[in-house]
Symmetry: C2
Subunit: 461 residues, 2 copies
């Protein structure tokens, strides 16, 4: 294949894997079930390597898929035999941590958790936090505008990116690695590359915002009697903890039972029997006072009838126990041979009814276990795991229709944080109108005229 | 003029002002010094009116300038005799405040302060806050990504926009007025219209994020001995006030003296003689405890040597006194017949030296009073007012060079929050490289192929 020879010539043989080398890499290292098919895998060591690769691919109309930590859930990193893969793993250097600017400059292949740990050493916090932090790369998190557990207080990845470097489809490097918070000089072009799933450019470096590390972390599980209380207690907690509330995670009863069932080895902090459970977190500066503040919140929350039961985490072990319940969502729906996962958002006031209706419809289908729901309710974002007996495409589509269709009228989104990728493309028009999709397409055509960057993902061009 | 007839026909006569009507409007209502020249002023009552207007202007290759509250400082709303003006003042309806979603849906012509007041009635806060809030329209704030006094805690306007409706150059309405915080379904196209100064589309409506209104507001003036202490005390205050620090405004000694000089009628809260003064603010939920927390911060800040003097605001009158000192910047540079204003950003650690060097260079020019500097130092953003005897273009450019040139090497920006408009266009390349500017231009060409939207602003096409 001519293009592989050209890439060899430009980058050196060690950065271009093809043939046997691919099978070793993907079947053994990644332990994939299927044979891995791609024209080649490129391992760039620098932005210039990415630029050279794309220049060649652009000239040869060669499609390109970027691989980070491969934790994407919607098929954004799927590859076929015609694609060249660019895997960012060698670009894994933290270039600078600037304590005064409270920023960190990183290459795209750095693991998210490595950034968290490096910040922590300097008593700083990189607030982005989600389950896959130990393997997800920051370039992927930026390309998908990852959310996670602390969005309520610190925002999505978009809010944490101060500067960005990306390579356009034709190999042009667009670099703006400034350590400044405010920059209204012309269009904020970095926004194009954040959340566009590698279809408009390839992220190579970023300057990320850090915040002062909190000195205290407090959490509590509470039980609530109906969904309106979930909203009223959120408002109340937000007011009472002014500025320190950092997570407010809702777990529906069925999910709570599965997350604390015997086989998980985790005991339930609050007894069963309530319809809703919330795990909340505050990050503050004074261990003792913040603990008292949270306890006061629970006390008055009980008095005022927002909540019906409450258990604070008394120590580090409790914290780990509580959060492991919330974070290990792999136990959900696992009593069935197959399952479907969802990540939707809608106005918070509608969430209770919406979930009830979806569950009602699912319950009527043979071989389907209604949704185990949980999620970042304070952001209007919930996740489902729906267990099922069959893996048929027909059933899959039927479940998708049940979950996604109501979102159009509710002003929601089929993807709060996971992106569109391949899996949700058919449902994009439920939350984006024709004018929006046309505008997305003209952006794609402007930035990637030959449709070489992650083609077929997000949009059909 | 044919196009005026066409606009009349499409919109009705009452929405199209031309000829004498323009002079009355601009010279009397706006009290402009110069005769107002424009082909026509359109007063849309709805998004459809804006769409019709742009469709016609697009067909006639007619240039369009949008007018909001006309508080822009960089010439973004300047008009010439060939332009049609669209003034948003009739689209001034607050369409909905949703307490549960904590969002407010507004038309573009609503005054920022009106949004603040409406939120306040429901014990909610619209955090965007800047001096011109009483006349600036939200559409202008969005189009310029306005910043202001509480960016440190709540972010720029960009962070407060949940949903947006805009009209493209060809009249297409791109409407996405969702009340959701997270929406990773495809490209986040609203980002294109935020901060692009009306050159990529016209903002007609928005859904804005509200937060729980704080119950307590505390402020203090502190004096500091050198710039490093300004940084170290910021870090310290941010840690101690965990999550509640909402403003940290630096004022250099000369500015402080002018802001509290006899003719302002305002007494200085702290005596003269220190090189730096900071006005800080915390927004919390407990009047008494938050006051004690701030006092504790001042006490330990003095003990640890971060600060050398401190005066808290003891009551509402003190708060108003302190903040009126900071907010009335019109007194700066007013001892000279002319002045130039600046709004730059750079990494916080460099700010002290940068200002010193700029002042040193300015001091060598006859008839120029060195910068009165002040600003949002926690965001790396400072403002200058430079007084001067002459209004010559040569002197203006010389001062611009002195202020702007060093920013290139420092990784700063010639515009932190005011935008580029006409006035800073010549300096854009100091903070944006060729690849960035080319990408901006191709976005402009894609969205506005005939260059009818605010032509000549931000970029030369």
């Amino acid at each position: 294949m001519k293009i592989i020879a050209v890439l060899h010539e430009a980058l050196g043989a060690s950065k271009v894997l093809s043939g046997e080398a691919l099978q070793n890499r993907y079947c053994h290292i990644w332990q994939m079930d299927e044979t891995f098919k791609a024209k080649a895998v490129i391992l760039p060591h620098s932005t210039e390597d990415v630029s050279k690769t794309l220049k060649i691919c652009h000239e040869h109309r060669q499609s390109v898929v970027v691989h980070g930590g491969l934790t994407n859930l919607v098929g954004s990193t799927e590859v076929n035999a015609d694609n060249v893969v660019i895997s960012m793993e060698k670009m894994n250097t933290i270039e600078e941590l600037d304590e005064k600017s409270r920023s960190i400059t990183v290459q795209a292949g750095v693991i998210v958790e490595h950034i968290q740990d490096t910040a922590k050493e300097k008593e700083l916090l990189f607030p982005l936090n989600f389950g896959a932090r130990g393997s997800a790369q920051i370039g992927g998190a930026i390309s998908t505008n990852a959310g996670g557990l602390r969005v309520f207080r610190f925002g999505m990845t978009r809010n944490l990116v101060l500067g960005l470097e990306a390579v356009l489809a034709n190999g042009t490097i667009v670099s703006s690695l400034k350590k400044i918070i405010k920059n209204n000089s012309g269009y904020d072009i970095k926004q194009l590359f954040i959340g566009s799933e590698g279809t408009l450019g390839i992220v190579t470096k970023a300057v990320l915002k850090l915040v002062e590390a909190p000195k205290s972390r407090n959490s509590a599980f509470v039980a609530l009697n109906d969904f309106d209380k979930v909203i009223s207690f959120l408002k109340y907690a937000d007011k009472m903890l002014a500025g320190t509330l950092s997570a407010y995670e809702l777990i529906w009863a069925r999910s709570y039972q599965q997350m604390t069932s015997e086989k998980t080895g985790k005991k339930p902090p609050i007894s069963y029997g309530y319809p809703f459970y919330v795990l909340l977190e505050s990050l503050g500066n004074d261990v003792e006072k913040d603990r008292l503040k949270l306890e006061k919140l629970l006390e008055t929350g009980l008095e005022k009838g927002h909540i019906t039961d409450a258990v604070p985490a008394y120590n580090e072990a409790d914290l780990n126990w509580f959060w492991s319940i919330r974070e290990d969502t792999s136990v959900l729906g696992r009593d069935m041979p197959y399952f479907q996962r969802f990540d939707v958002s809608l106005p918070i006031a509608q969430i209770g009814n919406y979930v009830e209706e979806v569950q009602g419809k699912l319950a009527k289908i043979n071989g389907v276990v209604p949704a185990c729901a949980f999620g970042h309710v304070a952001d209007g974002n919930i996740h489902f795991s729906i267990g099922k007996q069959s893996n048929s495409m027909e059933l899959k589509n039927r479940i998708n229709e049940i979950v996604y269709t109501p979102l159009k009228a509710l002003g929601g989104s089929v993807s709060a944080e996971h992106g569109i990728g391949l899996d949700k493309k058919a449902y994009l028009s439920l939350c984006r109108n024709e004018a929006e999709i046309q505008l997305m397409k003209s952006l794609k055509k402007t930035l990637d005229p030959y449709n070489i960057l992650n083609p077929g993902k997000v949009l059909d061009i």
